[in-house]
Subunit: 288 residues, 2 copies
């Protein structure tokens, strides 16, 4: 769902992806969660306009009249149960999607059938951009829990893009953000040790929760250890051992999928690769 928000200090209207969250939300939309019963379109739009996610919004010169057209690009939201897939690898490209609530993972399977998790997607994040190039989805998107998404059928979206100037710039920004996030993931996979990878993952998750106005120290992981391992290019055993080790170090507490970050400062230190380059740091990590 696209939504508009008047910035408190900015003159222009702000355009954003993503909107009503269930669970921990603040303000106007928290009381109208609708995961169980399909909501009528009008109510959906209202919730969209009153969207409280500032971080996910970017300035765009768009007025109320344009907004109507924008809304036209959005089809009713879809609700997925845990394990349901939004689209599957090799499916024809029909729509882009934005996560409204819940969480998803994207997965590729190679010729041999074994898979790799490419990413996790939280509310306000876009899914499906890799398909625009080849008109076919290159990965499978699967819900990690009960998840609702906004569907943006691409033909309709394109019409709106031509009618609403500034919107395609917005879309390009979002897609570019996708590129940037994958680049940083590449660096993680290329140069970081296992422990640094996990630390970076947890911090990234914590930071994204923060953007959603959620608690940044209490993480409820919706993905399995297998998913985390696959995403980080490790095996489950390694991930499990690292959680145990981090707990022993007093950085966090682990109880199944429930993580509490006790020392965000230490976690931040553990993200830096300097850890293993300088001799002093080597000793330090040896002591740990």
């Amino acid at each position: 769902m696209w939504c508009v928000k008047r910035g408190p200090t900015t003159a222009g209207v702000r355009l954003c992806f993503g909107l009503a969250l269930d669970g921990v939300t603040r303000g106007c939309v928290a009381h109208m969660e609708i995961n169980e019963t399909p909501l009528d379109i009008n109510q959906l739009r209202r919730s969209c306009r009153s969207c409280g996610l500032y971080e996910l919004c970017l300035p765009a010169g768009i007025n109320e009249a344009d907004l109507a057209q924008l809304d036209a690009a959005v089809r009713d939201k879809r609700v997925l149960a845990r394990g349901d897939s939004l689209f599957r690898q090799d499916d024809p490209f029909i729509s882009l999607y934005v996560v409204r609530s819940g969480s998803m993972k994207t997965v590729v399977a190679d010729a041999n059938g074994d898979t790799q998790v490419l990413g996790f997607h939280l509310p306000g994040e876009i899914v499906g951009v890799d398909a625009m190039a080849h008109d076919r989805h290159l990965c499978t998107a699967e819900a990690l829990e009960r998840t609702s998404v906004c569907e943006l059928p691409y033909p309709r979206l394109q019409q709106v893009l031509t009618q609403v100037p500034g919107l395609h710039r917005q879309l390009l920004r979002v897609v570019s953000r996708e590129v940037a996030s994958e680049q940083s993931h590449l660096v993680t996979m290329g140069r970081q040790q296992a422990q640094e990878r996990l630390a970076i993952f947890l911090r990234s998750l914590s930071e994204r929760f923060g953007r959603l106005s959620r608690d940044t120290v209490t993480l409820n992981l919706t993905m399995s250890r297998y998913d985390i391992a696959s995403y980080l290019g490790l095996v489950v055993e390694t991930v499990s051992r690292l959680f145990t080790k981090m707990e022993a170090m007093g950085v966090l507490t682990v109880s199944r999928k429930h993580i509490v970050i006790l020392r965000p400062d230490l976690l931040a230190v553990m993200c830096g690769s300097p850890g293993l380059k300088t001799p002093e740091a080597k000793q330090q990590s040896a002591r740990a």
Copy 2:
């Protein structure tokens, strides 16, 4: 540089990134290489219109009148010497670039100063898309040899995007292709062994040379072993040993930066991860 080509079989006009190549090119543009002396704009445009790169073109409903506007988005090409950077990490985002001839690498440096190669860019490929999200370049783009690029100043490009319908779709496709290629790189880094990584890299390079109508078995690597290693998440020694090993296996010949692929079929087999999953294949790779 943007260029237009009438498809031989397709009714519509085709829009593409990328154009005149130096070195091994076929047909109309091969004789007018201009790396040494700056060419006047008109000649540049002519070479652009007669661009022979089919693979890099995608259908777009664009007529001759629109083309004029398109050309307006392109600034004079820039020529870089080996080692010159097109933009540096943290530079403000001003333009997108398309490689015309030569080759580039994109590199990120983390806080500690050590770097990782994110990608290599051949003629017809776009550089700088990661900067659209944050208005700042997240990586450094450096020429690996004498390289010429087309500069697309973003404000001008945006104007043209609003005026030429179908063009932003084109741009989204190209950016999406960037996402897709990074995803496949991620899978390589996450799941493949060192030898598979190098094989995949060489095959990708060979395939991209093919799209440029170049020889697909004779590769002149413009990047150093260090660059390759960094790109693949390995160290130079490993890359060097693997080249030697592959040569011993009769897959290719190596002479410094000059590679000849003798057995593309074997190279293809070496790309598959099945290599190390099934017991039989394990024996096979042990025998090798």
